[in-house]
Amino acid sequence: MNDMTPVQTTIKDWETDQEVRWCPGCGDYAILKAVQRTLPQLGSDPANTVFVSGIGCSSRFPYYMETYGFHTIHGRAPAFVTGIKLANPALDVWMVTGDGDGMSIGGNHTMHILRRNLDVQILLFNNEIYGLTKGQYSPTSRIGTKSPSTPAGSVDRPAQPCAFALGSGARFVARGFDVSKNLPDVLKAAHAHKGAAFVEIFQNCIVYNKDVFNDFAAPKGAEDQQLWLEDGQPMLFAKGTKGLARDVANMTLKVVDVVDGDWQAADVMVHDVKNRALAHMLVELPFGSFPMALGVIYDDPRPAYDAVVAEDLARAREGKTANLAALLAKGQTWTVDGTVQDPV
């Protein structure tokens, strides 16, 4: 996020006149609404907000936001964002990408924007498929995914966006899903974080990868598989009947039963968004034996790249005057009559 004086807006102010062209029932609609609902609450200024995306169904997002928008090229959004923020750190920049755009062709730029910790909100819509190109499997597709390019099922081991983000040096990692009522809160936390905020949003591609997240993201009935994390709160799920506790021997986590809400008794661990070791464990929890960790998993700010670069520039410029004529005449010069000027 960036500092700004709050502006009064309504959801309408964030909608464009462009016909939204996702498939009926696509999870992207829900995410769009969530974002449009969140921005007024953040007091954001449409004129100061920029949505930048790559290419993909998800990446058409900017066309539907009444802000500045740049629909760039496949996988390179982070590089454009970097140029935009370094040129004008005052802008509030949101980046929208997909599992193909951000994790396949764009993986390297995703790594470097996180490593440098540029101040931007990164929303990765993970539908575990290439939607726009009609359903080929993606780097996040599960083994065995049947797709036009893998008619017999895919064999690649899927990438884990949040694990990748942490390994890349991310200082903010969160998860949500398209139809979740908590998504706006996750977006707010991302916006509040100064630096690169990485948010993986599970999104239902109802045409090419229908309901693959239903085990934990079904509109209803899957709540018990959701572990919604809150800083300083015990890691409870299944209506408080289960929790995550320390497996000290292996220095990892285990699921424990919680009787009558007495989580202390069950040694349930309290979530700490600044605990990096814990973050690693949470993003890699094998789903099934464990619930899906959602919400703000990790949030431990470091100076934002655009900020340190700005300081660096200020320092370099301090006390220096930009005399072009002098610059051109720098070094060993002479006049045709043969006397030397400032020999270096």
């Binding site: 760039t72 454009f80 072009l324």
Partner: protein, 642 residues
Amino acid sequence: MASAPNLQPDAAPEAVVVRFAGDSGDGMQLTGGQFTLSTALAGNDLATFPDFPAEIRAPQGTLFGVSAFQINFGSTAIETAGDAPDVLVAMNPAALKVNLAALKPGGLIIADTGEFSKRNLDKAKYETNPLEDGSLAKWDVLAFDISAMTMESVKPFGLGNKEALRCKNMWTLGLALWMFDRSREPIHAWLKQKFAKSPDLAAANIAALDAGHAYGETAELSGPLRQLHVNPVVTEPGLYRTITGAEAISLGLVAGARLAELPMFFGGYPITPASAILHHLARLKEFDVQTFQAEDEIAAICSAIGASYAGQLGVTSSSGPGIALKGEAMGLAIMTELPLVIVNSQRGGPSTGLPTKTEQSDLYQAVYGRNGDAPMPVIAARSPADAFDCAIEACRIAVGYMTPVMLLTDGYIANAAEPWKVPDPASYKPFPAHFLTERNDGDNLLPYARDEKGARPWIKPGTPGLMHRIGGIEKAQGTGHIDYSPANHQAMTDLRKAKIDGIDVPDQEVCLGETSGKLVLVGWGSTFGPIHQAVRRARRKGRDVSHVHVRNIWPLPQNLGPLLKGFENLLVPEMNTGQFKTVLRDQFLVDARPLTKTSGQPFAIAEIEAAIEAYFDSVEGNEGGEVEANDTQLPSPEAINP
């Protein structure tokens, strides 16, 4: 010294070529740099060319560890670092071995016998000592123990052996200064300042310099050593400095951004020989310059486009392989019509190729190398000094027409140095960028409206009320919304083309000779020097030949077609297999014949002269052809870095 005419004792030669060669550790580049200054002060015109060792730190005394510096100076306009040296200073056997072939027959060799030990001879793969086995008969040899004499001269200052020997290069410089009758004062001043912190070193170096100079005086009486006076050249009065192409481009970009009244964002990724520009600009932050070393060339150009989108002047720079990676993003800049300057410092190709050799083989890529109909202006610098103006021109077009612009230079220009009359920034016409501040169609915003030049408005994110979306999908005229309709795509393709075709490019001038006649040599880029000299020599012999050198490769000057049609024959010398000739033949249907050279070496004047003669003798070769490759030509810088 009969056979090296321009070294005749009493005659004042028109031009002399000297090459200082030694081990990487011997400080030849420094020696050359200072000799260059004294040459400039003596009022000669000059051109220099460094020849670094191939490896980053080659083992001492090895053949691939040789570092050389060549200077060509004279009493007439000098435009190349010269074909073959008249004088070769060889600080060790390896230096002699590597550079001997280039030396003019009858040329002078100055060698430090102190370094011709068995060990060094072995390293240089010499069976016997060339200074003794008579193998140097066709040259004049002046061999004496420079090492020893240097040690002697610096004794008083009690330096360590190593440090003392380091003064060798100053001793040699002193000798050279004497040889060409140069004043030592500027060098003294420079040494005092360089070693301000350790006066002893300063004194020692000065002592070595003076000793070398003194040796010349005393030794003159006997042997081949003679003092030569090269008359000053008549040049415009004013303040001068030497400049390399890389420096000139960096300064030109700074000046260009200034004239556009924009901060500059430079997104780069290291690659030889382009890195120098990144390095120069990284030190100019106070000039509203920001440099960003991206993770790769794609991120470099994309970040620059992002910065342009945000309202700065985006610039990116690379060489062949890196430029290849930027192609897709160039298309986006063309589609979104954002200003951008792309500098290509060409090197030998294809692929990684010959990173440290010079070539002009990226012209096809510059003019044609993108998917779709993607017209983009291309400008080519002819020399280090010219690169300054070319960079400004690139900025002017980019900002004025809202388009990416490709600026072509090459490894030769990037590293070569020449005197440059320091320009007055105020003498350039500013071309301030304009940003849209309110809706441009009543209550509507038309991001793709067009001004009289066909350029769309530049709209800074952050501007109240002008929110809009752009991207790489075809846009509707005016609104810029996504539009796949046939009529719109046809219209937009035409508009993009018309905008570039319509750029106001200065009329083409003939830089030497008549505006019509029997033969014209049409060049571009760094071949300027050799072509110009060759044409001048041919005209002296009364040949009806002219030289046209094109800066605006795309779009071409309006008058170029008619101009070229006024000549009976066109010869296009290029350091590639004939790329610019394709553009000329396509655009003007003129029978442009290629004169190609792809050895990674600049043209030698003599090679082009020969081609001109071949034409007039109308023997084979009249139709152009290809230059004989040989290994004894002016070397290009040898830092291996791909």
